[in-house]
Point group: D2
Amino acid sequence: MTGYRIDDGLVAEHNAVLEAELAADYEHLGAKLARSGRDIEAITAEVQRFKVAVPTWGVGTGGTRFGRFPGPGEPRNVFEKLEDCATIQQLVRCAPTVSPHFPWDRVEDVTELKERAQALGLGFDAVNSNTFQDQRGQKLSYKFGSLTHTDPAVRAQAVQHNIECIEIGRKLGSKALTVWIADGANFPGQQHLTKAFERYLDSMRQIYAALPEDWSVFLEHKLYEPAFYTTVIADWGSSYLAATALGPKALCLVDLGHHAPNVNIEQIVARLIQFEKLAGFHFNDSKYGDDDLDSGSIDPFRLFLVFHELVNAVVEQRPGFAPAYMMDQSHNVTDPIESLMSSAIALQRAYAKALLVDRDALSAYQESNDAIMALETLKRAFETDVGPILATARMRAGGAIDPLAVYRTSGYRARKDAERPQTPNLGGGIV
Amino acid sequence: MTGYRIDDGLVAEHNAVLEAELAADYEHLGAKLARSGRDIEAITAEVQRFKVAVPTWGVGTGGTRFGRFPGPGEPRNVFEKLEDCATIQQLVRCAPTVSPHFPWDRVEDVTELKERAQALGLGFDAVNSNTFQDQRGQKLSYKFGSLTHTDPAVRAQAVQHNIECIEIGRKLGSKALTVWIADGANFPGQQHLTKAFERYLDSMRQIYAALPEDWSVFLEHKLYEPAFYTTVIADWGSSYLAATALGPKALCLVDLGHHAPNVNIEQIVARLIQFEKLAGFHFNDSKYGDDDLDSGSIDPFRLFLVFHELVNAVVEQRPGFAPAYMMDQSHNVTDPIESLMSSAIALQRAYAKALLVDRDALSAYQESNDAIMALETLKRAFETDVGPILATARMRAGGAIDPLAVYRTSGYRARKDAERPQTPNLGGGIV
Amino acid sequence: MTGYRIDDGLVAEHNAVLEAELAADYEHLGAKLARSGRDIEAITAEVQRFKVAVPTWGVGTGGTRFGRFPGPGEPRNVFEKLEDCATIQQLVRCAPTVSPHFPWDRVEDVTELKERAQALGLGFDAVNSNTFQDQRGQKLSYKFGSLTHTDPAVRAQAVQHNIECIEIGRKLGSKALTVWIADGANFPGQQHLTKAFERYLDSMRQIYAALPEDWSVFLEHKLYEPAFYTTVIADWGSSYLAATALGPKALCLVDLGHHAPNVNIEQIVARLIQFEKLAGFHFNDSKYGDDDLDSGSIDPFRLFLVFHELVNAVVEQRPGFAPAYMMDQSHNVTDPIESLMSSAIALQRAYAKALLVDRDALSAYQESNDAIMALETLKRAFETDVGPILATARMRAGGAIDPLAVYRTSGYRARKDAERPQTPNLGGGIV
Amino acid sequence: MTGYRIDDGLVAEHNAVLEAELAADYEHLGAKLARSGRDIEAITAEVQRFKVAVPTWGVGTGGTRFGRFPGPGEPRNVFEKLEDCATIQQLVRCAPTVSPHFPWDRVEDVTELKERAQALGLGFDAVNSNTFQDQRGQKLSYKFGSLTHTDPAVRAQAVQHNIECIEIGRKLGSKALTVWIADGANFPGQQHLTKAFERYLDSMRQIYAALPEDWSVFLEHKLYEPAFYTTVIADWGSSYLAATALGPKALCLVDLGHHAPNVNIEQIVARLIQFEKLAGFHFNDSKYGDDDLDSGSIDPFRLFLVFHELVNAVVEQRPGFAPAYMMDQSHNVTDPIESLMSSAIALQRAYAKALLVDRDALSAYQESNDAIMALETLKRAFETDVGPILATARMRAGGAIDPLAVYRTSGYRARKDAERPQTPNLGGGIV
């Protein structure tokens, strides 16, 4: 790997300029928090422990069925994707793992892939299978489904692909397989709703049986798209039924964009925690459907409320609580690296604010049905500008106080544009 | 009971006028169905077996938080409600049971209530408890919840009320208790989402323990309203978790208007059937929220698709399938009797059409992923005008070919207006 | 008026305790803003100019069609409502006007009403008519519509009521009439969609003709409820058509809760500003429908984005921009005074943050399509904790640094509970 | 053109088999309608006058951002597309025009294109421009907008493209240009909402100026996708503002799938008719978003209600009413020819049922606010099985009684698969 990397010296140089002001802000915030008995150092330490995975496909430009507008210097293979992921981690220091997608990230030599990642300081999170597209040379088509197809041969092919993903993941050091299927129907009547679910369970049981002892399988539901009348795993209810039918290694993954309009997502999260079935998250934000926008860009308060449930689970020591975090966003009009850095920070921000909630006070207000003070308690935390905590956490971990500024100054994207000559790839975007 | 009843002679008189045309239509439809091997008589017989309960509160005029506009001759007590229900049954012959609501329908002498109903040819379906309102003289308020209230005394009061409902229901010959609670929160933070659900389970376990051997308890979920940020039993996922935690007598009730926008309700129905947890339905229709409009008035195809799943369950002999049917509508601008008769027929219509689906053909199209022919198969059934079947079924059972016409001719409402002098009751409507 | 009022000394006492910390926070925030060339004093001064009206009905407990749970010490008439409004204004100092609703606030002597308000330091904002309910003794019913009723006599009655509201408003010093009608239909076919709109325009033209020279009429749209299939003025498009047909005094009022799911409200606001038809706002928040929750309690970022458009309009000197602001919330589980104070501050907060947006930077990012930096620019403002500005603005205007704390310490509600013996009023809530 | 065409003899042969039964059904339906004074022949004649355009892109397989699954024998250019369109028209006889899309359908010789179409019996409907994608060799990118781009050079390029479309359309015999732009933003702040609309109007004015005397321009709004935070022409309100600002040749196009959840589309249609701005329709159906499903496949009653407004406009002789009809669907899992034939018939069905509505009775019920009978009047028409009318209309016009059966028997698709060897084209689908 001979590609351009940002010099740590540039980070240090940038930080040097901003450090004094940051220190002042951090000190004032510390004093303010101290008034209500909060120790800023404890919060900062906790924020430093927060980590979120980057999906390898996230560093490419996304698109819609109407078109895709590539950006300059896009990574052309998984090795270049790792390079971009490493740059993200270098600057934000909370994204040390990547989540690969097969067959997109298929390589001849898995060991080489693992070593390259290690050399870049990266590890591997959950592996993702793909049975929602046909690949060149693929024997049977997934046009009418994969794990739930009416043809047992197609199901067998899809099961086999998932088992291969587990095999690759095992070599990479992953501990989980995420399964999202697009199976469903566009027409009433097209699919027998119950039989499709039975076939799903049957296929998943075979995949489940192939899981190593210490692995989990994450079931990801999605209300619609690409299927537009019915989707086999459309909601958390179906996901929960499946996870329960499969066994303790099967857990329910929550993608923030995969719900019906208006649904209270934090409540779903609470339910899955309570019944010990929360796998983790695919983070993003949305306004209309599964928009896959940047985390916290549309409704940061909702994101905070989700993290409030997560902190609750820790504080209350809910059994089996160990969620996996990943960003799953489609970057159509931004530099993906910039979006991912900004989104990682948005997640940390939600987490830091959730940590600030005065839980004793909140509990008392809940007990006495003091709704206005309960809300005020949440808002006091939410309205706190935790920027100094996040920047300090980054800086202390070796990252940049202002990652976007360093990144732009570095000219990374232009360098990659030169390093990575592209074959034109317009058309509908895949994410 | 000395109130006015429609003379069966009037029904006969009306039928006599329409009978010949109906016979011609029935005959032609029979011939048409025979071409594809369907026996109209078998369908008609099956339609005659379909029954749906009328809720006692449904025969009063509903309203919204903005106001209520009473109609003439509204029933002033449960006995007058029974009278209206009996009139519905007299004309449509598929609504032989009523579903009472307590304390609204509380009487001194439950035996008298039962006898009056029997005298009118009516039986009792599920009993409904009410812990979403405060009643005059009630000791503790449900303002901040009932079965999930933070105060154990409020929970105990709510549990006790449900147990009383079971007691009354037992005397009336009911076999099920329907529990809908409005518990939830209007503010983020107001309620501890997990603890509220734990309290719900704890309360419900006490109610469950009081169920007679041959009884069920129906858990009714609702996405929102009157709670506007979170509702404890907001979706079928939470309902299923609760029903599973409680035991085999606990089942999930589906109210067609209690879902998030765009959600595929027939799929939820299919899932609950598959996992043997479908209690039954509260039928109505909606365009925006829980509008409680007349069944089939907004989206009759969706209603047909729900019934398609129900017929599937029968044909496929899904274990434990025995759903309870009730109409749960708010009649704000119509004569409730007219709406309920028209809605009962709309349900029969959906059922009759679902019976007409060529399931063998459909199965074959599903197996071969022939989406367009699968849809065509459903539409062929849906587009069939089954009116002659429904009218014949009614007529044969002693009902009216055109119930609305007989009802209007009878002058029933004007007679009741004279019989039932009203105390004015404007203000927000309760349904 | 002999009712209890909070002593200003209590406010001063409370402020004295908090003043030093506030000063420190304010100073640090000032220094931080100064780094990017922002003058905190200018912002604070601007925040002090922000005013929002309180609707008289807002100080009573709201409800839903399922029930209403009154709180203690509710005002029993418009004079007691004024008292509560004055208390809000005393503590938050940005709510100096009230918006009355007729016939709810009808009094014998309008001059007395005006004088009582003046004595309490209150003025009158827009007057609101009510043709969505029937009142005891009302000649013709609005069950099937008011301004759009098929019966010209009902329309004439509704027009006349609106003209009376203008008359009362003129005496009170109002300058605008807000017209919201519930007219619509619950059934397809019930209403001729076009003729209903023609009748609306005809009726509104008569009301428009009665407007004094310097008055406006605000047309309020609402997607649904209480009409559940179609509403005559359902969206901003219909509202705009009507306002244009009527003339320059007719403007479109935006209630934040009256839109379809997912709709981008800030864009509607921008359009109405651009075409010089924005009347102003009914502020609240919502998650599911027209939930009427406390402003900023569900999605504070959306509220900020609305205010961002409002500040844009000022900065860009959009012609005719002079919106009227009112809170329109239903307080079902809180003390209405507490909710209204908290909500008024939430609006100030959104405004203060919108003022902080670096508009020059934003413009440059918009011109160069730098989406990520455009968002960052908004978020930098949004993430700023402007609490010290708001508290300072209140304190300088004579209000409370912590209005909720002062209010609770005062025992105001308990005093009112003693002063205002209630007639029980359960049942569906009206708001 | 030497491609395979279905022999008219095959159609005749098929019809011969079905004719007798059709005649019996038609006769019985005629007798039934005659009872209420309706002349079946008049209805059939009116149905024969109904025509709907087929978009050239509709005969190719669609897809989503997740993938595209091509079908066999897809047309590879506009000439092959015409061939497929001609086959549709041959069998259904209500789709005699095509709507081309540029640059997708760009040819060297426009006259040749016109002649080929004429030879196939096809004419040209509205032409469609495309500035939502980048084409190979295109000078400036539309990544950040087209007609509203901040860069005047991009706007000029987009304007120029639209003017070229008008030029081509003029040669083809079109009379309208349809403009849909994807312009918008994915991030709050990315776009200045008002300035973007100003730029839109400025660009559109240039296009408007290039319209021939007898042309119209259709403005198509869409709530979201591909832009996910804001879209410049997002709703009918914005579309109406633009059409009004541009002048009488500018009209508002309604795509049934481009609205917010729950919105009452038939009301929007009524408003646009009333204010003489309805351009016409892009027909399809949807359950979740802009799903582009087959017309009438999800909610046939809603489609009927839209057609009810259209028939109203004719009956009431609303001025300027002359809507253009087109099917705009994405066929992802069906043979596009089959879907388009089936959808064309679904539109005819909705139209025929709308014609059957007893408008005098309905008017009387509306006047007297008889909601239940108003609904019954609509349902009586909707529940009528008009299949015999549609089939007779087709047969009389030379089409097939059962178009799907003839098409399948012909082996058309397999023949085309042989005639049209494909270059593989997986990836995201464009429609």
